[in-house]
């Protein structure tokens, strides 16, 4: 035995080394996630390599800045003039777009949609890649110490880039959308078709799972759909470059990413995504009557106990619990009840509403009437139990800031105030 190993020493070592690595691969495949040992190897290598990369990036950036800012100033005046003209054009466009945005918000509010927006980002510098054309990842110079966590979205002002895969103390690994193992929920803007954005081995970005009988034209814009719960909805992804029928039932749609993935320098890591109901913003933007403000500040009349069996929902003597679905609107539920003068019509409105609430009330907006997607679906107005179903549009037609009635009250609480802005005439 001894002579066998001494004779085939090198071959034995080769077999042992290969066996150990194959075993390591099998363990990684079996576990699915990284074990502590492999994590440690990555930690060592990344911490050995990335400081050099960061130094190289900083040096090249410093040299480039000095060159561009102090030496290479050719054409700066012309560029400045062009930029000024561009600013003027963009200002005009901004006015138009802000009107569109306001209209979109109003419509969202009417439909009770929740909107997501990027509320907090961390700017990061791209300092390196994997070095392999089979692994489309980049490294950024922000890590745990900067609040970065796995599965955070990484974007540029042009479009999405990828998601954070692994986080180290001062560095993070970002999986690009061009990697085959990446997946992003995406939607085509004009046709509203949804699919999954995946990379290929060649580094291309493809939109999968769109049926072959659908029409997708080159040049169509692709946005995030928000279905992956990583990227907020509506971020630019890219444009359709080419469409071919695939071998299966789906189209092969090649997408040109909006962000230039081959020349990434600075990126933004989305550390917080806020989800708000636009109704709050829309309603809070509306002017509040001075009488309402005064009435809130003045001591109110003690609430009257409601007579049992009546449909009048004025018994919100104690404030209803703040709603989790509508945390921004934290006005006490009893507020409206404390306003005998300013809100005198509310109780009557409640009566009218509850009496007619057996069928969905007509909405003031055409096309919205009777739809179950109104705010009432998610925030039912708490009304007397005798009422069979709430008004579908009662609390959406006139959103008001003090909408305590749209807050779901405690289960054992008395019926709270109906929407103060309810139309009495109904």
């Amino acid at each position: 035995m001894e002579s066998f190993f001494s004779r085939y020493r090198n071959a034995s070592i080769l077999v042992l080394l290969l066996f150990a690595q194959v075993l390591g691969l099998a363990v990684q495949v079996k576990r699915g996630t990284e074990s502590g040992g492999t994590r440690l190897i990555r930690f060592w290598v990344v911490n050995a390599i990335t400081p050099f990369e960061k130094a190289l990036v900083n040096t090249s950036q410093g040299v480039g800045d000095v060159w561009r800012n102090y030496f290479y100033l050719r054409g700066v005046r012309r560029e400045n003039r062009d930029l000024k003209e561009q600013v003027e054009r963009l200002r005009i466009e901004q006015v138009r777009l802000s009107e569109d945005a306001a209209q979109a918000r109003r419509l969202q509010a009417l439909l009770g949609f929740k909107e997501q927006f990027v509320s907090q980002t961390v700017a990061a510098q791209v300092i390196g890649t994997s070095g392999s054309d089979r692994s489309h990842v980049v490294y950024i110079d922000k890590g745990v110490s900067d609040g970065i966590k796995p599965d955070m979205a990484v974007i540029t002002p042009d479009g999405i880039v990828g998601k954070v895969l692994q986080v180290y103390h001062n560095y993070s690994q970002v999986l690009l959308i061009s990697d085959p193992s990446s997946g992003v929920g995406a939607i085509l803007v004009s046709s509203r078709l949804q699919g999954i954005l995946q990379g290929t081995a060649a580094g291309e970005v493809m939109l999968r799972y769109v049926m072959t009988d659908e029409k997708v034209a080159p040049g169509e814009t692709v946005l995030t759909s928000g279905g992956d719960r990583i990227f907020p909805k509506g971020l630019p992804v890219g444009t359709v470059q080419q469409t071919n029928p695939g071998s299966d039932l789906f189209l092969n749609i090649r997408v040109k990413p909006a962000a230039d993935l081959s020349r990434l320098e600075e990126v933004l890591v989305v550390t917080s995504i806020a989800e708000t109901n636009p109704r709050n913003e829309a309603s809070s933007a509306q002017p509040v009557r001075a009488a309402d403000i005064l009435a809130e500040r003045l001591p109110g009349v003690p609430p009257k106990q409601p007579a049992t069996g009546t449909a009048v929902v004025s018994g919100a003597a104690k404030p209803a619990a703040p709603s989790a679905a509508n945390p921004g609107n934290s006005a006490p539920a009893g507020t409206a009840n404390d306003l005998p003068s300013a809100r005198s019509g509310v109780a009557a409105a409640a009566v009218a509403t509850t009496k007619t609430a057996t069928k969905p009330a007509a909405s003031t907006m055409p096309g919205v009437a009777g739809t179950a997607t109104t705010g009432a679906a998610t925030k039912p107005a708490v009304i007397k139990p005798a009422v069979s179903q709430p008004s579908a549009s009662g609390d959406t037609a006139k959103p008001k800031p003090i909408g305590s009635a749209v807050q779901p009250a405690k289960p054992d609480a008395k019926p709270s105030q109906p929407p103060p802005g309810e139309d009495v005439s109904r």
Binding site: L14, L18, Q21, I41, W44, V45, I49, S130, G131, A201
Partner: protein, 175 residues
Amino acid sequence: MMDMPLVRTSREEVEVYRFGPIVSVLIPIIALVIQAFVPLKFRSFSIFNLPLLVTIFFAVARRSQVAGMLTGAFIGLGQDALTHQALGLCGIAQTVVGYGASSLGVKIDVENPGTRLLVTSGFYLVHQAVYFLVARNILGVTLEWMWARTLLAALLNGLVAIVLFAVLDRFKRGT
């Protein structure tokens, strides 16, 4: 005498080289840094595989199969660690390349540029083949073997190896 290949040398004629510990550690790290950094500026640079070339250079120069295998394994695992894929893909491929290159280095003279081009291109193909087999059969990764691209990459890596090996020859220390 005329039947013998020109590159074939007797075992005694082949010189074994050594490298200082600093060079042995720093050159692979520098190769990894360049490999990871340059594609940021030039995406197509990732067609080159500097760590593999360094593995081949050390294995051929040292002419020790154990040293070649270990060098290949460590550099390969270092490359794997920078990717998001499982550790061991490049490790296995470069272990095989290290063993093969050191075995070949014992038998033939690999000092002239022509031989270096052929040897490096050949081992690049071996590396790709082993990587492909392991990735497909053990990890179940869907990979497509692209002949044209692979052959072009092998040739380009061979050309780069001629320059790189000439630079690295300066760090050799004869025994």
